[in-house]
């Protein structure tokens, strides 16, 4: 058995070496401009805060003992679906320009966004990426994960990362809000990626704030998405070099 394991490890190591420990799944290349069409001299900003009203649900304790590698002594893991700060701010809300950019096309960032698997959790829990931009999925755990994306408009994929340090880069081919990610090995692990064809998106942090910078003057539909509380939209008009503050409020 030990010899068998050894042979298996060698095969795996050879596979990993052949791929440099990484794997990449590329969406079909689509020609994109290399320069932003927005005049920085006239661009404005939309910023704001997401509030949670009502009694915040007590985060459920997540039992991770089906994989001893995930259990950290003295640490109680909790469900991340609704994270409310002490001041009532709501975390992990994806805020983005849903409509109003017309036919403007934007460069694809060369830098990938990173989705880490750390402590048997996805970090961050919610993130955004542009169509064609690399989404680099990293395994920082001393256990194995599978990364299973279950999109509706993009292509589903499911890939394994049995060793710590492995990376997989995926590029989404079309706009989709949101693409769910899950790990079938650890059923409590969930993440969400908003895929857009422009760079105007943000995810609220612990203080519930967000900021969409460098928008050309115009009228926009801004949507705030939360994984369990649903979506809300607002129409916002900004003039040249104007900044506007807006607020969303999600109820329990």
């Amino acid at each position: 058995m030990r010899r068998g394991i050894h042979i298996g490890s060698l095969i795996l190591a050879a596979l990993a070496a052949a791929c440099g420990g990484n794997s990449e799944n590329a969406a079909p290349a689509t020609p994109a401009p290399t320069v932003s069409p927005v005049d920085a001299a006239t661009a404005g900003n939309i910023a704001g805060k997401i509030a949670f009203t009502g009694t915040a649900p007590k985060p459920a304790v997540v039992r991770m003992d089906s994989d001893p590698n995930c259990v950290q002594p003295g640490v109680t893991a909790t469900d991340e679906s609704v994270v409310v700060g002490s001041d009532g701010s709501l975390q992990n809300v994806f805020v983005y320009v849903k409509d109003g950019l017309g036919s403007l096309r934007f460069p694809i960032p060369a830098q990938p966004v990173v989705l880490d698997q750390k402590g048997c959790h996805y970090v961050p829990h919610v993130l955004g990426a542009q169509v064609g931009q690399g989404v680099e999925i990293v395994n920082s755990d001393q256990t194995l994960h599978n990364i299973h994306a279950v999109p509706m408009a993009n292509q589903e994929f499911n890939t394994g990362q049995p060793l710590a340090g492995m990376k997989h880069t995926h590029r989404f081919s079309t706009r989709e809000v949101m693409v769910p990610f899950k790990c079938d090995v650890h059923p409590w692990m969930h993440a969400w990626i908003g895929v857009l064809d422009h760079p105007y998106y943000a995810v609220t942090g612990a203080d519930g704030s967000f900021s969409l910078k460098g928008l050309p003057p115009g009228t926009y539909t801004i949507e705030a998405w939360h994984e369990t509380l649903g979506t809300q939209t607002q129409s916002v008009t900004i003039g040249e070099k104007e900044s506007k503050d807006i607020e969303f409020s999600f109820k329990a």
Partner: protein, 331 residues
Amino acid sequence: MLLHLFALLVAASTALLIFAGGLVTSTGSGLSVPDWPTTYGWFMFTFPLEKMVGGIFYEHSHRLIASGVGMLIVVLAAWLWKADPRAWVRRLGYIALAAVVTQGILGGITVLWFLPDAVSIAHAGLAQLVFCLTVAIALFTSPGWKRAYAGRGPLNPLDDGVLKKLAAATTAAIYIQIIAGATMRHTGAGLAIPDFPWAFGRLIPPMWSGPIAIHFAHRVGALAVTALVLATAGHVIYHQRSRRELTRPSLLLLALVAIQITLGALTVLTGKHYIINSLHVVTGAMVLGTSLVLTLRTYRARLTDAVRNPAYVHASRAGAAERTRRSEARA
């Protein structure tokens, strides 16, 4: 006799495999190993035991048990080919082998294609057929069956057309009900009706959707199967009370159906607890297998006559005549 015991072992192993498969679905672990036939790049049998964590434990165990059952069926088919003089039984061994290989491929395809409902339902349906084949082989290799076949015991043909039709209809209905259950499981409709025995507090659901319809169809199917089982078992007990080979599976069938209905209710009431859910799956297979045994026994005389191997029967009868002659000589 050894062959029969081995066939029983294969049937029991297949039931265990069905339970393991039920655990995979019930724990949502179907895609926890994203590759096939390898496991995270490892050759299946060299995958480190310490890495069998979380959902991988269920999925990889299912694959290992499936491989074991596949190997057992290879041995069974080879044993039948070598030892059983009946061509049709040997052929059944080959069919079981082909079915288990197809089943393995279906299992792989459903992983690689992200569990499409149709393939997953076909995988569940074929599992039951593989189980039926192993049960049938165990029955056909049993001493009781062969005694009648070889003419050493009384053929005592069953002249009960009603029972034959009832038993066959019951077995077919159970299989259809199992497919309905598999459809419900794999389309995520297991809790589409969240209460039991009522449906949203009523006899008939007040609202309809695809999942509610599938779930309700499974409940209606359970009633139909129960009625058929009661009719079949009642008929046996009333008209064929003296035939133990029929009364025993009939009583077992009644008990299994009662257990199965209880497990079905508990599956809903516990919010699909994975152990109860998986027991419901494997008990369904037991109900089907028991009904199949009863059905085949009602058709025993016809099967015997229809597919008798003349050389084997001749040899058996010659042997029986020889034994009779010797015992008469001793007397």
